[in-house]
């Protein structure tokens, strides 16, 4: 088990290092720079600004400087938000992104697993059809169509919830969390349904029933591990999906998280901010992939020794 953990951590570290190197050089390759969209400034001033951010140095020197800063936990200054460091911006935005992402995963897992189990136990019942419909809608209708529609219906027409922003406390988080959770509810309920149906056909489930164990106990004690293994395997990809979705959600609902910063920063070539957010996102995805593998390894010896 320790060897397994070590290997996964080493692989994750390598991927993160590759991510840092590739992102750094890709950003420099992209045409345009952080100050090319400014109003006309004299060449001398531009030279001074570039010198201030070390953009006049050769790229490899900039990279060495960046890595040195990174080793000390310093993501550097933002080039668009003049008086802020990237650390400040991430510290201010990340809690919002994490809160919404966390609740979206919680809601998606609970609702998705419940719908999937209901569908598997009562096949072709009303609950099964409801789960199936949510599954199809959640996969086929994109977040950026459902999000604005939800705003129009629940905020503008019915006025139950705020349209956007974060001024309304927990009430402003309801729509972002639900919309972000929806596609994942769809995937998780499909996964749960299929794997539960498969698990119910296993011999050990038949044995448990034959021994006279009551149905609720069979479902809760004997089929859960088998049912949840594929769902747990989806946890890693789900993190990536949540990050993709959160960029949209934060744009649609005007949440001041890091997803909104990322798109603006990429368009404005704010190199340090793009790098910082890439590292945070990449780190999250890699961490959750490792966590997923560990959970699976712990629950399923075939993964551990395979």
């Amino acid at each position: 088990m320790l060897r397994f953990i070590g290997k996964r951590l080493w692989d994750g570290g390598l991927t993160l290092a590759a991510l840092v190197v590739l992102t750094f050089f890709m950003m420099r390759l992209a045409p345009g720079g952080p100050f090319s969209k400014n109003r006309k400034i004299s060449p001398e001033v531009l030279e001074n600004i570039k010198a201030k951010y070390h953009l006049d140095e050769p790229v490899w020197m900039q990279f060495a400087r960046y890595v040195r800063g990174l080793a000390q936990g310093d993501f550097g200054p933002s080039m668009r938000f003049r008086d802020y460091s990237v650390n400040d911006l991430i510290a201010a935005g990340l809690p919002w992104s994490l809160t919404i992402g966390f609740w979206a995963i919680v809601v998606a897992s609970l609702v998705g697993v419940a719908l999937g189990i209901a569908g598997a136990l009562r096949r072709n019942s009303a609950a099964d059809y409801l789960a199936g419909t949510i599954g199809v809608v959640g996969i086929a209708v994109p977040i950026f169509v459902i999000g604005p529609l939800a705003q129009a219906i629940f905020a503008l027409r019915l006025e139950w919830l705020p349209v956007g922003g974060i001024g309304g406390g927990w009430r402003s988080l309801v729509l972002p969390v639900l919309v972000l959770a929806l596609p994942n509810i769809a995937y998780i309920s499909r996964l749960t349904r299929t794997s539960m149906i498969e698990t119910l056909r296993e011999n050990y489930v038949r044995t448990a029933r034959a021994k006279g164990i009551g149905e609720p106990r069979v479902i809760l004690r004997h089929t859960m591990t088998g049912t949840l293994l594929p769902v747990i395997a989806y946890l890693g990809p789900a993190t990536a999906a949540i990050i993709t979705g959160s960029i949209l959600i934060e744009t649609i609902f005007a949440v001041p998280g890091i997803g909104r910063h990322f798109v603006d920063a990429a368009l404005n070539r704010d190199y340090p901010l793009v790098m910082g957010i890439t590292i945070v996102y990449g780190g999250l995805v890699i961490a959750f992939n490792i966590l997923t593998d560990l959970l699976r390894g712990w629950l399923d010896p075939r993964v551990r020794h395979g």
Binding site: T15, P142, L149, T244, L267
Partner: protein, 295 residues
């Protein structure tokens, strides 16, 4: 014909090919066939529909600014705030989204299949290196890669296309590589090699054709993914930009106007969702018909 049996030599032999059987199975899937019909209708509407109107989606009509739905006016579904016809714009946007979707899935599929087939056939060090590269790219959060690539390629439609293709060829590569690996050990491949056939011809002539049914199934899932990526990026303002229409940037414009008029959001949104519904049903149908594991 004393025995009463038809002895026509040109008649096909009894029994049907696997492909025929698979297509028949697909045709019996009602949801998938409905998807094909609706999708064909939407494609025809997008590519032919705009010709029925005397103006294009980029022509502003100053007599009809923000016109409502009125089937008797020259703009049956109304206009946007520049007086541009909404229906024509949505159809023209559909052309862009659909063309990028099918072309992108095709190109990503071809790259993925060739890459996977070569890696799987070659095996050993080559395979290890090639798949290591895929693994590293896989470790990247998808959004970050696609956004950065579209910037590196310089913005514009071609850059968008290249960025999407470059991020989506990985899955077909992995799937085909697994298939190719097992094919490479089969007798007919060994026979081809013993007969002196060159590696490149074995890959193209033996490995790729035998992966085709897997490729069709997963390729059909690529199309909605490409369409979704394109509209996602256009929605964020990174993809296709005004005045050219695509479903993504039309939905974005609809979002901005939604407190006064939901129509701007609903028309392109419904079209996009309908296409994605159809493509998902078709992909499900193809998987049921072609995937030997499910039989």
């Amino acid at each position: 014909m004393a025995d009463g049996l038809p002895l026509d030599e040109t008649a096909p032999p009894p029994g049907r090919s696997t492909l025929r059987l698979q297509l028949d199975r697909f045709a019996r899937n009602r949801l998938a066939m409905a998807g094909v019909v609706v999708l064909a209708f939407i494609v025809a509407a997008c590519f032919l529909g705009p010709f029925l109107f005397p103006f294009t989606g980029e022509d502003a009509d100053f007599d009809y600014i923000l016109a409502p739905i009125d089937l008797t006016s020259p703009h049956p579904f109304g206009t946007d705030d520049y007086g541009r016809d909404l229906l024509v714009r949505t159809l023209e946007g559909g052309r862009v989204s659909l063309a990028i979707g099918f072309l992108g899935a095709f190109v990503a599929g071809v790259i993925g299949v060739l890459y996977g087939a070569i890696a799987g056939y070659a095996g050993g060090r080559t395979d290890g290196l090639m798949m290591r590269f895929v693994e590293i790219l896989y470790g990247f959060p998808y959004v970050i890669l696609v956004i950065l690539l579209s910037l590196v390629f310089g913005g514009g439609n071609l850059a968008l296309f290249a960025a999407i293709v470059f991020t989506l060829w990985l899955t077909p590569a992995v799937i085909v590589r697994a298939q190719a690996q097992s094919l490479a050990r089969r007798e007919f491949v060994e026979a081809a090699r013993a007969g002196g056939m060159r590696g490149s011809r074995i890959v193209l002539g033996h490995i790729v054709p035998n992966c085709l049914s897997v490729v069709i199934v997963y390729g059909s899932l690529l199309v909605p993914e490409v369409i979704l990526s394109e509209s996602f990026l256009s929605f964020l303002g990174i993809g296709i930009k005004e005045p050219q229409a695509s479903w993504g940037n039309l939905i974005q414009a609809g979002t901005a106007a939604m407190d006064s008029d939901l129509r701007l959001l609903l028309l392109p949104g419904t079209m996009l969702a309908a296409v994605l519904f159809c493509l998902n049903f078709i992909a499900d149908g193809l998987r049921d018909a072609f995937d030997p594991n499910d039989r």
